[in-house]
């Protein structure tokens, strides 16, 4: 096995780990193994052996450069000198936003992973060490991610603002990283403590939606805390700013470099420096409880008799033309409902989808009243929530239990199109439609029911987009047939590319909405196109 540079760096903190009662050599061993496995991908059922070269390189690291580019937007904030509290708070606001999102959607599953419990816990390794390995494993990736985002801004700050500024910024970034990893873990600990079994699994997904939504809102709050008066940025610290971490970090800079000694700034600065360590301390104390409560995720609370309700049977019959299609519709539905990893990856994007359209409306509220907005066309922001279709259709390819995919080959299926059609319809009805309905109702409350035609048009555009995505992103591969580890980063580009047709659909709709009856006629055309596409494509 490879000896990783990261581990050699970690070695210098050995004594720290030992002090916390962690068996460092064992933890290092586990980490080395996990890092090795991260570099390898398990071949799928459908891949012939030897067909693909076994590549030994970490996909995550390959994808990092995109984050490097994102990091460039942080640079301008380093040059705003008259208000440190503004520039640094925004700087950390953006950074924490990116880090939190990837923590929730990409690393939650590592934290909540219990698959290797049988292997590790039956060996003479204590829980604390196993958990520490998990946290360090996540932290390694988080630090890599942070480093790529902030590397260039940091160098810029060194030359533009001097060594002291640079060092303080670096120190703060490290603290923020620790805070994010540990705070997320603590949050999960709290949830694990109060909920049990089946319910817990659902709750975790809702928490993810809430978290992603609150990150977006939190980010908005940060920006809105600053009033811009005649191009001067005014910031009046108020007590509730205490719940917004980026401001703590801004406060520290304001205190040290801006010389602003207000009580709030001192309080915030102390929080910025102390809280990461306090949370680490609390976390280490509660590791045994965390591991014990994790067990609840495996507990099968007595199996409820679950069948399909008459309504859903009727629904399945109406949307699916053939029996085969219906079978895969029900299959996909249960898979989406029961697969924890799928939900862990997909639910955060739900949160974003619901929030984004309203953010736009919220932004408008700054300049106009709600009634004025109600006259306008901001409801077109609903197109933002259709963006999630691409991600979810990509995710449909994966399953924790991809091994089960042999049934696709072993069972005599007359029409493979039925597999695709059934699955995609299940996605539309059971994942997309509920969210879409909520969105529509909320929008109609603001914009009156006159927009119903537009909403219908959006629905049928989405339906076309589903097929486009399936062709572009999925490329005709079987659903639930690859393990999540197979997820490749170049898929990110495909998803991005699949947004383009959506922009086109939006453009046509928006343009036609200025013409009388344009929307209605367009809707009719879309229905016909839908009819043809769903018939012919598969």
């Amino acid at each position: 096995m490879h000896d990783f540079k990261t581990l050699r760096i970690l070695d210098s903190f050995q004594s720290l780990f030992l002090k916390f009662g962690i068996n460092y050599p064992v933890m290092r061993k586990i980490l080395q193994l996990k890092l090795t496995m991260d570099r390898r991908r398990v071949p799928t059922v459908f891949n012939d052996f030897g067909k693909k070269k076994e590549d030994d390189s970490n996909q995550f690291i390959k994808s990092l450069w995109v984050y490097g580019l994102i990091g460039l937007i942080l640079i301008p904030f380093l040059f705003i000198t008259d208000s440190y509290i503004f520039s640094i708070s925004i700087f950390f606001g953006i950074l924490m936003f990116i880090l939190m999102t990837s923590m929730i959607s990409d690393f939650s599953q590592v934290l909540l992973d219990i698959r290797d419990k049988n292997i590790l816990s039956s060996k003479p390794v204590d829980k604390r060490t196993i958990n520490a390995a998990k946290i360090v494993h996540i932290s390694i990736y988080m630090f890599l991610l942070t480093f790529t985002i902030t590397a260039i801004p940091l160098i810029v700050s060194l030359f533009a603002r001097g060594i002291l500024f640079f060092l303080l910024l670096l120190g703060q970034i490290i603290l923020v990283d620790l805070l994010i990893v540990v705070a997320t873990a603590l949050l999960y600990l709290l949830i694990l403590r109060f909920f049990d079994g089946e319910k817990l699994k659902d709750i975790i997904n809702y928490v993810q939606i809430l978290l992603s939504a609150s990150i977006v809102i939190g980010y908005q709050v940060v920006i809105r805390s600053f009033g811009i008066v005649d191009l001067d940025i005014i910031f009046d610290p108020v007590w509730w700013h205490i719940v917004i971490p980026p401001i703590w970090y801004g406060a520290l800079f304001e205190l040290l470099f801006g010389g602003n000694m207000s009580e709030y700034f001192i309080l915030f600065s102390v929080l910025a420096c102390v809280l990461p360590f306090v949370s680490i301390f609390i976390y280490i104390k509660s590791i045994p409880a965390f591991e014990r409560n994790l067990e609840k995720l495996t507990n099968q609370s007595s199996s409820k008799k679950k069948g399909f309700s008459p309504i859903s049977r009727w629904l399945a019959k109406t949307v699916c033309a053939t029996r085969e299609e219906r079978t895969f519709y029900q299959f996909a539905r249960t898979m989406m409902k029961n697969e924890r990893q799928f939900k862990l990856k997909v639910y955060p994007s739900f949160g974003f989808s619901i929030i984004f359209p309203f953010l736009i409306i919220l932004t408008e509220l700054g300049t106009r009243s709600l009634e004025e907005i109600g006259q306008g066309r901001t409801y077109f922001s609903i197109y933002l929530s259709t963006l999630m279709i691409s991600t979810i259709i990509l995710m449909l390819r994966y399953s924790e239990y991809a091994k089960g995919a042999w049934i696709y080959k072993a069972i005599p299926i007359k029409d493979t199109g039925a597999i695709y059609k059934g699955t995609l319809k299940a996605f539309m009805i059971h994942l997309y439609l509920p969210m879409f309905t909520i969105m529509s109702i909320l929008l109609m409350l603001i914009f009156s029911t006159n927009i119903i035609w537009d909403i219908i048009v959006v629905w049928f555009s989405s339906s076309i987009h589903v097929i486009i995505c399936f062709k572009m992103v999925n490329g005709g591969r079987m659903f639930f047939a690859e393990r999540f580890e197979m997820a490749q980063q170049q898929d990110g580009w495909l998803i991005f590319a699949s947004f383009l047709p959506l922009v086109g659909l939006f453009g046509i709709h928006f343009g036609l909405s200025f013409i009388d009856y344009g929307t209605i006629i367009y809707g009719g055309i879309l229905i016909i196109i839908n009819f043809i596409l769903w018939k012919k494509v598969f």
């Binding site: 064992v26 193994l33 390898r40 290797d116 049988n118 292997i119 816990s121 204590d126 507990n299």
Partner: protein, 254 residues
């Protein structure tokens, strides 16, 4: 093990199990599905720790938080849980090191054991490409690599071919003769009957029978372990069930 009780939610899976095991015994640990066999083993391995009652292994209460007793335990789980994207060599070395053995020594031992099991040509391949029997061999090797005094084996022969089965059975007998204790869980009664010194039958979370095969036979009627098992678990409908099952199979499907 004294008065061991375990609940899963409101369901009680073990009720007051008392058990004392001596060195050098092969214990056939049997019971119907869901009787609580795996749960007992998991408790003893510290995989589950919220139980009632006392469990002591090697004279040490396992609830005291010290996991060093696991150094003397080997475990073959029922489900072949392995890190499959590692090679056999990497996996066995890793496990050996977790047990606190020097990597060089693990590698030496593993190389020899792999050779004896006839899987040396896949030693450097990833486990994900292995057949069930090959995976089972890797599991058996990694459970024995640290020369444990106590072994928990859950269906250790599953997937092995007839020749390997003979080898493993012989290994177990030899290890027991050398003073190792072996907990052998299986549903294959013929094997349990032949290799066990003592048979423990668990049903509905309770200890139903405990003794050598001969003792069990004396208490109950003549017959094989399978028949005793049926009798003790109060099961005598196998023929009727089979008949009905086949009739369902043959029902019209169109």
């Amino acid at each position: 093990m004294k008065n061991l009780t375990k609940d899963f939610g409101s369901k009680r899976v073990l009720t007051g199990v008392d058990l004392k095991v001596h060195e050098g015994e092969i214990i056939g640990y049997i019971g119907p599905n869901g009787a609580g066999k795996s749960t007992t083993v998991k408790i003893m391995l510290g995989l589950i720790d919220d139980y009632f009652g006392d469990v002591s292994i090697f004279g040490q209460d396992i609830a005291n938080g010290d996991s060093t007793y696991k150094r003397r335990i080997g475990y073959v789980p029922e489900t072949a849980d392995l890190y499959e994207n590692l090679t056999a060599k990497e996996y066995i070395t890793f496990i050996g090191e977790l047990y606190g053995i020097e990597p060089e020594i693990v590698e030496q031992k593993a190389k020899k054991m792999v050779q004896l099991f006839g899987i040396e040509d896949v030693y450097h391949s990833r486990i994900s490409s292995f057949s069930k029997g090959m995976k089972q061999k890797v599991l058996i090797i990694s459970s024995l690599i640290h020369n444990p005094d106590l072994l928990f084996l859950d269906e250790p022969l599953s997937g092995l071919d007839a020749n390997s089965v003979m080898v493993v059975k012989e290994i177990l007998a030899k290890l027991a003769a050398d003073g190792k204790t072996i907990f052998y869980s299986s549903h294959i009664m013929e094997v349990v009957e032949k290799i066990s010194h003592r048979i423990i039958l668990l049903a509905d979370g309770k200890l139903v029978a405990d003794g050598s095969f001969e003792e069990l036979r004396e208490k109950n009627m003549e017959g094989s372990l399978e028949e005793i098992f049926n009798q003790l678990t109060g099961f005598d409908k196998h023929k009727a069930i089979a008949e009905e099952f086949v009739s369902v199979v043959q029902r019209d499907v169109t």
